[in-house]
Each structure stands twice: as structure tokens, then as C-alpha cells.
Symmetry: C2
Subunit: 231 residues, 2 copies
């Protein structure tokens, strides 16, 4: 009974996610859904990412938290349009659904951006089940979290296109086996891209910004609007 | 509609939690529900805790993960009875419910233990909503996670009796404001106990083991079985 209800919720979510995807395609906006445990450093990475992408790429962020607008305030300082979603009025939802992304998108000028980054609620479980209409999904995985997380939260690593190791500046102070962590990721998802960086020091940001630029370029190359413009 | 169903699920859970609580009281077992983000170091803390409590206190552990038996294998090496719950067959549940705790409890000899530690699924959101029949709840909060987690996941810090800062050996390598983190916790829950330790180095374990011993003692002092024994 409970399972049936959950299935219905997910089906309804997927239908709205498809509408979101069509809307993003219409405006040629590349959308990345960024997920992770609480405290893996998503917001710090995104602060530096927004600064690093400007001015050649125009980015916006939708940031989900159960409550508080702290992350949105931090990101807004980087100069990009930011929409904060608080899930507390929706029962403290532990994930962003396609429906709340649709509502948040109404606050943004999609025609004025190239890239939309969705910072999901900090949770390695539930957000992996909810398609929000993104092009790509990224999991941020802090090296302070233990190497075996991909094995224990396999759905997250299975649905993602990129695993971003964060806090690598702390590696000298940890008993962390980065090679084992990468092997665990590959055992769950052989096709996933893997990058390493530090949101605190900025090391490793060039490959990450390059990955984003390449994804935006690829989306444009396949878009009908740009195809018409080229013709 | 969805909210009503969730309410029903929680009501059913609370009824079973009350039965669990009665069962634990009957056997004079103190039960601690340990929750946290993924990768905050629960299992490492519990390994050292089981060793530190023996032989004067007899402990058992129920450990919840979506999948794998890695944590149970680690804890079993410490010599305590361990029951692993995998929630994957239940739709990859992101929390332990009173029902699964009841089933796991059947695998344990409650008469032979003083203390039952429940290591919940790594998630700062959903486990806070599910009473499993514990006496006390503890949130493990790693200093690598960012000071503002109590503000962003307030329910977790509101329902807990103890906040256990972990990985304090890393403080010299982090830009972490422990005072601010404690203030955030107190602003959410003025009554919560707060302790600091490092699962890796063992520093701070004596106050934590003392907290556990005191709770076990307190439970016995109020128990009818021990009261009869004393009479």
C-alpha cells in the first residue's frame, strides 16, 4: 500500500521532470543537479564556481534546504541569480522534486542564462530517486566521509554522471585511500566521470570548470535554436 | 493526500515504537539511537565504544544501511552481538522504522545485554522523524561538515539528547568555528548535552563512555525489575 503510493508520487514527479526538461531545452539552458551528504562542501564549491565561470558563462542557482536562506545568501554574493527553496513548508522534504524546481524556475529569466545549477538538499539517499529535469547529475563526495559510501549508497553513484571528490587539501591529515574510493565508485558505475578538487583552496577547479564548459557547449551543439542560428 | 498517508505511516510507527519501548523496559536495556550524515564516523566511534565499555557493560548493536554488511562486519570484530538491517529490500528506506527494529530485536538476547546501540542509516533528515522506541537519541556531527548544520537540519538537533562532535583531531587543519557550531546547536535545543571526541585518535572517549554508563545506571535505577531485586 505504502509502496504503491510512493510509486504514484514518483510517476507524477517524472511527468513534471519531462516538462522541466523541455522548458530548459527550449531556452538552451544546461542544468546540473548537484547532490551530496550534508556538509560535503557543495555551497563552497559553487561560490568559487560562479566566480570562475563569469563572465563568459551566465549561471543561476536554485538551492534547496529544509530551512534557512544561508546558502542562498552566500551564493548571491558571487553575483549570480539565486532562488532559495525551503522544503520545511512541504513537510521538511529531504529532496527537491520536479514540482518545486518548476516553481523555482518561474523566478528565473531562463533566456538570460547558459547554465542552471541545482544545489539539492544534503542527503545521499532520497534526492537520487527524484528526476528534476536536469541534463546531468553530480555527486560531491568529501574525502572526510569514508571510502565505502559508493557501496552503501549505490543508487546515488549509479544515477550520477560526475563524482566530484572534495576537500582533497585534507588528504595529508586523513587515513583515506583515494584509490579504493575510486574503485568503489567504478564498481557501481563504470561510466561516471571523476574529478578531485578543494572548495577551500581552489585546487583542481580548472578541470571542473572545463567539464561544465564542455557540457554547456555540447548542449548548445545539439540544440535546435542554435542550429537555426547557424543556418 | 500524500501528507495524510505520511501521517498514517508515522502513527503506525509510533504505536510499534511504544511496544519496543515496553519490551526494552521489561529487559532493563538502555537503548540509544545514533544518527548522523553519511560519513560522520558513527561506525568508527562505535568500534571504540564497544571495546571501551567491555567487560563491565554488555552491549549489542543494530546497524542500518541501505545495503552492504560492511559496518556490521567491522562492529562484530569488537566482540559484541551485531544485527545488520539492510533497507534495500524495503525500497532503500532512508531511515530505520520501529517495525524493522522490532524484527531485528528478535535476533538478540535482550536478557543478556545492558545496552543496545542503534546505528541508524546515514541521513540528517528522515531518521529524526521515526521514533524506534529508544531511551535517548544522539546525533554525531563531524567538524568537517560545516558549523551551520543545526540550523539547516533543526529537527535532528531538536529531537536529540546528545550532540557528539566527531573528528576533533582535524580541527587544526580546518577553518571551523566550534564555538559558533555549539551556539547554533543551543539555539535549536537548549537542553541537549554536547561532547567532543575523535573516533580516530580516541581523544574525548572517557566523557562519552561516562555519559553512556550514567544513562544505563539511571535506567536501572528507575526500573521495576531492579527495584524488586533491591527490595
Amino acid at each position: 500500500m505504502e509502496i504503491k503510493v510512493v510509486r504514484k508520487v514518483l510517476d507524477a514527479n517524472d511527468a513534471i521532470a519531462a516538462e522541466n526538461r523541455a522548458l530548459f531545452a527550449e531556452h538552451d539552458v544546461f542544468v546540473l543537479n548537484v547532490m551530496s551528504s550534508p556538509g560535503s562542501g557543495k555551497t563552497t564549491i559553487l561560490e568559487k564556481t560562479l566566480t570562475g565561470l563569469a563572465p563568459d558563462l551566465r549561471a543561476a542557482v536554485i538551492v534547496g534546504d529544509i530551512c534557512t536562506t544561508r546558502d542562498a545568501e552566500r551564493l548571491a554574493r558571487a553575483g549570480a541569480p539565486v532562488v532559495q527553496i525551503n522544503t520545511e513548508p512541504f513537510g521538511g522534504d529531504c529532496h527537491l522534486s520536479a514540482q518545486v524546481i518548476r516553481e523555482a524556475t518561474r523566478e528565473l529569466d531562463l533566456g538570460g542564462i547558459d547554465l542552471l545549477i541545482i544545489e539539492n538538499v544534503g542527503n545521499l539517499v532520497c534526492p537520487a530517486e527524484f528526476d528534476v529535469g536536469q541534463d546531468r547529475r553530480c555527486v560531491v563526495f568529501s574525502v572526510t566521509e569514508g571510502e565505502d559510501k559508493p557501496l552503501k549508497y549505490p543508487l546515488m553513484f549509479r544515477v550520477c554522471d560526475l563524482a566530484l571528490f572534495n576537500k582533497v587539501d585534507l588528504l595529508p591529515h586523513l587515513d583515506y585511500d583515494l584509490g579504493a574510493a575510486k574503485e568503489h565508485i567504478r564498481s557501481i558505475n563504470a561510466k561516471i566521470d571523476v574529478l578531485e578538487l578543494s572548495g577551500r583552496t581552489g585546487q583542481g577547479f580548472e578541470p571542473w570548470l572545463g567539464w561544465l564548459r564542455e557540457e554547456v557547449r555540447r548542449k548548445r551543439a545539439t540544440s535546435s535554436r542554435h542550429a537555426e542560428a547557424r543556418a
